[in-house]
Symmetry: C2
Subunit: 472 residues, 2 copies
Amino acid sequence: MTATQDSFLALCRAALGPQHVLTDAADKAPYLTDWRKRYTGEALAVLRPGTTEEVAEAVHACHARQIAVVPQGGNTGLCGGATPVAGQDSVVISLQRLNRIRQVDPLNNTITVEAGVVLQHLQEVAREHGRLFPLSLAAEGSCTIGGNLSTNAGGTAVLRYGNSRELCLGLEVVTPSGETWHGLRGLRKDNTGYDLRDLFIGAEGTLGIITAAVMKLFPLPRASVTALAAVQSPRAALALLAIAQSHAGAMLTGFELMSALSMTLVTRHYPQLRYPFADIHPQLVLMELSDSESEDHARGIFETLMTNAFEAGVVADAVVAESVQQSRDFWNLREHIPLAQVEDGKNIKHDIAVPVSRVADFIETTDALLQNAFPGARMVTFGHLGDGNLHYNVSPPEGVDHDAFLANQEQVNRIVHDSVRSHNGSISAEHGLGQLKREEIRHYKSEVELRMMRAIKGALDPLGLMNPGKVV
Amino acid sequence: MTATQDSFLALCRAALGPQHVLTDAADKAPYLTDWRKRYTGEALAVLRPGTTEEVAEAVHACHARQIAVVPQGGNTGLCGGATPVAGQDSVVISLQRLNRIRQVDPLNNTITVEAGVVLQHLQEVAREHGRLFPLSLAAEGSCTIGGNLSTNAGGTAVLRYGNSRELCLGLEVVTPSGETWHGLRGLRKDNTGYDLRDLFIGAEGTLGIITAAVMKLFPLPRASVTALAAVQSPRAALALLAIAQSHAGAMLTGFELMSALSMTLVTRHYPQLRYPFADIHPQLVLMELSDSESEDHARGIFETLMTNAFEAGVVADAVVAESVQQSRDFWNLREHIPLAQVEDGKNIKHDIAVPVSRVADFIETTDALLQNAFPGARMVTFGHLGDGNLHYNVSPPEGVDHDAFLANQEQVNRIVHDSVRSHNGSISAEHGLGQLKREEIRHYKSEVELRMMRAIKGALDPLGLMNPGKVV
């Protein structure tokens, strides 16, 4: 350890308290590997500040000594964005101790929270105040709102409420030099200069550290009702979406696609789940309506739209949930797809988005390209159809060794991502770039766009200390 | 004229056609003064490119010669953001000829339009495709979508659909050096790096020129119904808002406040308008519900929520419109407030926002401060209460000369804007900064924020050629 490092750690211990400066290998370990264990990095120390002032002090100390900073929330990211890069001289700053709810303002429909607040806790506090915080995703029990904002997390309610960016009104940020920007505005309208807020959102900690945020709340719906519809194809699912939007408007809060293979895997590996149809259909659509009137009213809307869909020949079969329990059963089928995939063995995952109108084209084209290159490849396709966001996962042909098939990852990625590009889509819809897609994105963004991104990085973080090796 | 200027104009004439390079004083005049005639500037020429390629060529030529560029849409801005600064050696680039609808994608609920498309035309094209484009504001007959995006325009439907920023999915931009960024993505989810889109939105042409955009569309509601409610105070109006949001959820698309003085002026100067109550009430609220079912259903919702509001003692009197005509009559009262103010004489205008929960506090506090400084001052307060956005206009006491009163503008602004700050608000909610508030904002933004804004400006426009003298 150099003298500079020594004096740096002494300063951190004085500022944060010695118990919040982890230097022991065993103490640091959980922060140095992502939860899927794909990335492991090194760090001089893990710092656990408890207040924004302490974050600023720590970052200021790093800046003065040119020590790189890796911000980390719940460490549930899927692209290695919160894991230090191997061999870098850096510190991890964990935001988990910044976990206070600073203010709930039901009349303004806002909540002010610190970055380390766990998403599920935020949802619960909102509910206690008779409000909905709609962001919802698989990791909600451990992910933090700071991480959600830094990756602009999506989830299951984007169709109606937008992604993390659209749910945020204001931010508090510690800049790369250790200053604090107090931008915690709870305003619906504010046109006074450049949109710094949205620049920090989705920047994955490469421009500064989000320490707190003002998030939007919504009136709690009086009822949520779910239905499952069996359709012949992704194209029919799109026709159903148009019918549903026309009849339900903003009440339509969920519209998920699940392919036959997804349901085959789920019913095979989780036979205890209640699958409501006699057969596996080519595609299932899971729909959710949220209603400010009543359950009966929501069922009435479902009835109208399903009648229309049957008459148009769009839907082959459908079940509207009769109870809260049955609604949960339907969501369970959806949520067990990734787990059933784990049971089935390894596969090559993609988190892609295309314009909603091109989802069916994308699936048909890409399936054909992959079948051509890898005859028998099994595509497990599911996701947020209402947002054009698919989890398009490629499993090996039946009987082929999964590990051997994974050797084709680069070729499979190229086929899928090239197809995404030709459908005007995105190769990372809701997970970000992190380390995983930092190189990959250079294939797909223009030099003009990459240059602007680098110019912004250079302007706000001229020493390049914030989360190096990620995004740009 | 210098030789450089000569060769520049020759190049522009070759690129755009001579008829689209205006150098004659009379031809240039309409582009050099804002429509409220508060600002007049100078320009070497007004360029009227017809395509994105021509815009890029013109900007490239300016960049090579360090000629400043002032982008202009419909020239309806309220802060002088599209008028060149006096004495600058610049050109105006008018986007009005970029007025093509490039694509309508009803299934993706998007429309791709060029910057010069007039807002009302965009609304009409959307409607022809059975879709709603919800952005709506007073200047919609002549403002352009490029200008709306550059100022992040708000209007009357922000409560439900968001402002221009939230309605935009992708942009095409000509950068200050004359390159083109092709960011016309029609995606609901795309987490692949820094949010350049939202940086250009609201930048008022100081970072580049928006040449086209992908905008969101929505299912056309089956019915829109309007109601007027009389309440005792802004505080009661807020209580009504909470009740309305609880019962109507996302159906509530408009919630406007109109003070007694606003209605006194409207009924005095426009006696032909149908005012539905016998008396002038302390405050009126105009509410609009948009319904994907039917008019009857919307009326039922109004009935429920008004019953609740009466029982809670929140509403003194209320009328639900019986016809489309009556809905229009109610909106007419709201829209005639600014016109009635013109009839009444000059006043000092403010476009402010505070958290919704603090609107009543803001009005009470600021009214008292102004009464103290200017006894008898008459505040004409109205606006988008659902967004916390008020047009808070200060008229002289009865009998006081309007021009003489306007001499107090700076002192009045300081009182109002200081009060906005102490209520955590914004001094420009929906009109932007332009020239008008460029100095004023320096009182109210921190040095940290101003420095980040300047760093971004320097990074993307290092020669400082884009719309100088505006925003930063």
